[in-house]
């Protein structure tokens, strides 16, 4: 299968590889996929006080298209607000990277990763607002209990 130039570019020069402190209150972490499926993406965002995503990092186990999709996702979320980041759709990623039909699932996974990271961040924020120490478990318990 021939890869598009953009996939090759992201694969060869991935943007924003790395890790953020997953325990920090201003960091949201999303891990999606499974090793048995051949794809695992971890996408992290760091949100500033204005609600703008000022940093994003990823690590991905997967094919070139999965790596490119997550690399592109980190590029796109940076500088957006949480609400704006939620607007990113997998079809946009498909279009930008010219993914063939068999690789569409990579873009879906990248969208899922963005959403999971945003949800994790919002959960932490809620936990903080209700006075809990910012642990997501506490937030979970609070929500389920309430």
């Amino acid at each position: 299968m021939a890869y598009s130039d953009k996939v090759l570019d992201h694969y060869n020069n991935p943007r924003n590889i790395g890790s953020l402190d997953k325990n920090a209150a201003d960091v949201g972490t999303g891990v999606v996929g499974a090793p048995e499926c051949g794809d695992v993406m971890r996408l992290q965002i760091k949100v500033n006080e204005q609600g703008v995503i000022e940093d994003a990092k990823f690590k991905t186990f997967g094919c070139g298209s999965a790596i490119a999709s997550s690399s592109l996702a980190t590029e796109w979320v940076k500088g957006r607000t949480v609400e704006q980041a939620l607007q990113i759709k997998n079809v946009d990623i498909v279009q930008e990277l010219a993914l063939p039909p068999v690789k569409v699932h990579c873009s879906v996974l990248a969208e899922d990763a963005i959403r999971a990271a945003l949800a994790d961040y919002q959960k932490k924020q809620q936990a903080q607002a209700t006075g809990a120490p910012g642990a997501s478990d506490a937030a979970d318990a609070a929500r389920h209990g309430g």
Binding site: Y3, Y11, P14, I17, S19, V31, V32, G33, A34, P35, E36, C37, G38, D39, V40, M41, R42, K59, T60, F61, G62, C63, G64, A66, I67, V102, V104, H105, V108, L109, D112
Partner: protein, 406 residues
């Protein structure tokens, strides 16, 4: 050094120049139909075909009369399995094979099953071999055929053909082996090994594509087959169709060369393979050899590089032509069924790469390839969340993942 480096010799092999030279006259002046009995053109073609028959028979310890030409190993397997099933229907309809066989064996068996036959697939151990005790237990009074491959195309594991053949003979069951990967690579002797039917292919032995053969035993016992192609009654009635003379000449020459070079190539390729593996192991942790450590094709290495997905890895070493057991490389979404059958978890199956070494592989190529693999694996592990988790001491298999349905 040529780039990319071809390391996919189990997929196909380049045509040997000596084979091409032998074939060329049969595309030009010597174009006769081997079935033309009345003029020199036909005689010339027939003579060439008979020479090839002898060359192929010599490589596997058979008689020239026992070689039936086909279009390739897929056809040979179909003819052996379906031809025996039809011919011996009165005797029984039970077949024995293994889950690691090529689809060209499994799918004909599946078809027989749909038509009312019973198929037993023997369990294989983690190296890919069947246990003789299991085979012995599986044989029933109505068993007509055991089909077990000589060497596996993905993991290179060899089956103990002689022991299997002896057992089949003792129990009066026919033994077919798909020797597509084994012929010309490992010593094969149909007499000593008690093989009744054997499939082989031209393009896996540095011969042309589109030609193969089926060995059909003529005595002790005389194996009979129902033809699967009806027509002019070529090949003693077992396979009608005008013979592919240039292809057959090439297959014959390829077998002659393979036989002459088998001993020295076995040593050379085994050394290259072990050199390659030693280099990988010297620089990378968490890599796993799939298949048997020693009972394997000299030119086959199948390795799982934990935490690095196979297709992503191949993309990172585009100077190498290899293949992967990862789902992403094939039309199906499942990872390799062979790796699954030998108990390799799906997570590790996705990280497997098959390296196929062959006649034209050099030491310099192997060294270069090892360097490229090591660099690509290291780079991708730095990008892998799984590698990071493993280094933090997290047991990946205990993590609750959220597989998404796509």
């Amino acid at each position: 050094m040529k780039n990319p480096i071809y390391l996919d010799y189990q997929a196909t092999t380049p045509l040997d120049e000596r084979v091409l030279d032998a074939m060329l006259p049969y595309f030009r002046d010597k174009f006769g139909n081997a079935a033309s009995r009345n003029h020199a053109f036909g005689w010339e073609a027939e003579k060439a075909v008979e020479t090839a028959r002898g060359q192929i028979a010599a490589l596997i310890g058979a008689d020239a009369k026992e070689i039936v030409f086909t279009s390739g190993a897929t056809e040979s397997n179909n003819l052996a399995i379906k031809g025996v099933a039809e011919m011996y229907r009165e005797k029984g309809r039970h077949f024995i094979s293994a889950p690691t066989e090529h689809k060209a064996v499994l799918d004909p068996l599946k078809r027989l099953e749909q038509e009312g036959a019973t198929v037993t697939l023997l369990p294989v151990d983690k190296t890919g071999q069947v246990a003789l005790a299991d085979l012995e237990k599986a044989i029933r009074p109505d068993t007509v055929l055991v089909s077990l491959m000589a060497a596996n195309n993905e993991i290179g594991t060899l089956h103990p053909l002689e022991a299997i053949g002896k057992l089949c003979k003792a129990r009066g069951v026919l033994f077919h082996t798909d020797a597509t990967q084994g012929v010309g690579k490992i010593p094969i002797d149909v007499e000593r090994m008690g093989i009744d039917l054997l499939s082989l292919s031209g393009h896996k032995v540095y011969g042309p594509k589109g030609v193969g053969a089926l060995y059909v035993r003529r005595r002790n016992p005389r194996v009979r087959l129902s033809p699967q192609l009806d027509g002019g009654g070529h090949e003693r009635g077992m396979r009608s169709g005008t013979l592919n003379v240039p292809g057959i000449v090439g297959l014959g020459k390829a077998c002659e060369i393979a036989g002459a070079e088998l001993a020295s190539e076995t040593v050379r390729l085994t050394n290259l393979r072990e050199r390659f593996l030693a280099k990988l192991r010297g620089s990378l942790d968490e890599i796993y050899l799939n298949g048997h450590p020693t009972e394997r094709l000299p030119g086959n290495l199948n390795v799982s590089f934990a935490f690095v997905e196979g297709e992503g890895l191949m993309m990172g070493m585009s100077e190498l032509a290899v293949s992967s057991g990862s789902a992403c490389t094939s039309a199906s979404l499942e990872p390799s069924y062979v790796l699954r059958a030998i108990g390799v978890g799906e997570d590790l199956a996705h990280t497997s790469i098959r390296f196929g070494l062959g006649r034209f592989t050099t030491e310099a190529e192997v060294d270069f390839a090892a360097e490229r693999v090591i660099a690509a694996v290291k780079r991708l592990r730095e990008m892998s969340p799984l590698y990071e988790m493993a280094k933090e001491g997290i047991d990946i298999s205990q993590v609750k993942w959220s597989p998404t349905e796509h």
